[in-house]
Symmetry: C2
Subunit: 247 residues, 2 copies
């Protein structure tokens, strides 16, 4: 936890009182004392400093902070993710990791090789997935929660939603083993905003690849090595970031 984040409704008269895992973190890990300063931020708001007003060091822990917010954190890279719904335990990790890397919107979509049971996971409820996004923000020192969009049916997503969405991106990228172009060859100039797609374990089926290409996506190759979904999400994000930072 590299920043203590709180909800807007937790702030009253520039004060926040923490009684949960954040209080425990301040007591046990940071070992903060009255008068110490901490980096804090309001979810979807500004970051700043807080002074520790009081600490109850014994369980149940209570920490009172006096907060001074100063400005927005640096914007995350303009990268969105289109992800075939992975199994819940992997989705949790991906949500945290890609939020830490910086993402604006995550589209979770069905695919032929997505197990039906994955759609029954409670994790797709906002109150369930939100903590994993916050975990990523606490890691990366950011306050901007990524938006989650859930598409339970591939075909209407690919035929109706994606073509409209596509017009908002400078590139839409799909890693595919049969592609010949490298990522850098797909991008001309400095790309402004990018959507990248990662399929299910076992990959998209041909029908899905066709639909995604028709909707405006471009294939590129990451080489011959086959990566697990969670590795691919981070690896492709990093390669795209690297290209976007190029001058």
């Amino acid at each position: 936890m590299n920043i203590i984040l709180f909800e807007k409704n937790e702030l009253a008269d520039d004060c926040v009182v923490l009684r949960d895992h954040r209080a425990k973190h301040i007591v046990k890990v940071l070992q903060s004392k009255t008068g110490d300063s901490l980096r804090v931020g309001m979810l979807d708001g500004n970051i700043g400093e807080a002074r520790v007003v009081s600490v109850k060091r014994k369980f149940p822990f209570v920490v009172e902070l006096s907060v001074c917010l100063t400005g927005l954190p640096d914007p995350p890279p303009a990268i969105d993710l289109l992800l075939a719904l992975p199994r819940p335990i992997m989705l949790k990790r991906i949500l945290s990791q890609v939020t830490a890397l910086g993402v604006d919107t995550i589209h979770l979509v069905n695919a032929n090789r997505v197990e039906k049971s994955f759609w029954d996971a409670g994790l797709l409820e906002e109150e369930e997935y939100r903590p994993h996004l916050i975990h990523g923000l606490e890691q990366a020192v950011d306050t901007r929660l990524p938006k989650i969009r859930i598409h339970r049916h591939f075909r209407p997503f690919a035929e109706d939603y994606l073509p409209e969405l596509a017009s908002h991106y400078s590139s839409l990228l799909l890693a595919h083993p049969s592609a010949e172009q490298k990522l850098s060859q797909c991008l001309s100039g400095t790309p402004e905003n990018i959507l990248y797609a990662v399929g299910p374990e076992g990959g998209w089926v041909d029908f899905e690849v066709d639909k995604l290409l028709t909707a405006g996506m471009q294939v590129f190759t990451m080489g011959n090595r086959i990566l697990k979904v969670d590795t691919a999400v981070v690896a492709i994000h990093s390669r795209i970031s690297q290209e976007m930072e190029r001058e």
Copy 2:
């Protein structure tokens, strides 16, 4: 499991008999039948095809393969990793992920912020960590096991071992928040082989950074976002691969 890997001593007269999780995978996931072909490889050896000679489909599963090895898989990228020893559960995942991405040697080193208990983990014995490397190879379709080097004392590693090692690399790279140069600015031309360093959660202490720089490492910035160790290992590897593939 995108390739079935076996040990050299499992091969006798071009035949391999499997009775463990690999047999289960062939029966349950691949649902292979007698006469089917499978992609196989010998650890630290060639890859090729195998024909299923016989299958016992009930527990305990047994699969007999007739193997024809044809050649080495593509070489992995010439990237080595210097990693401050992470907690065992994270190390397992990192070993699999970085093996899948492709790495030649992984140096595990002590650091000020490495918890002493991590060194007591059985995972540092070859028979314990080897399955996680094999897991990465099975994912990426490779046979070359990365080499693991364990350095329990930072100072002799940084003062004696690393300066000698450094002469073998075209670049030695250390991601650091205070750096100003981007990765692409650190590399001139197409780098041949690279060692990159990832510190412990909380980072290297100043003394360690000084020693690593003295030994020949260069700092670069990944931006302001702080990444967890497992995310950083994949993210930096991917950015370096991206630069190495550039023409």
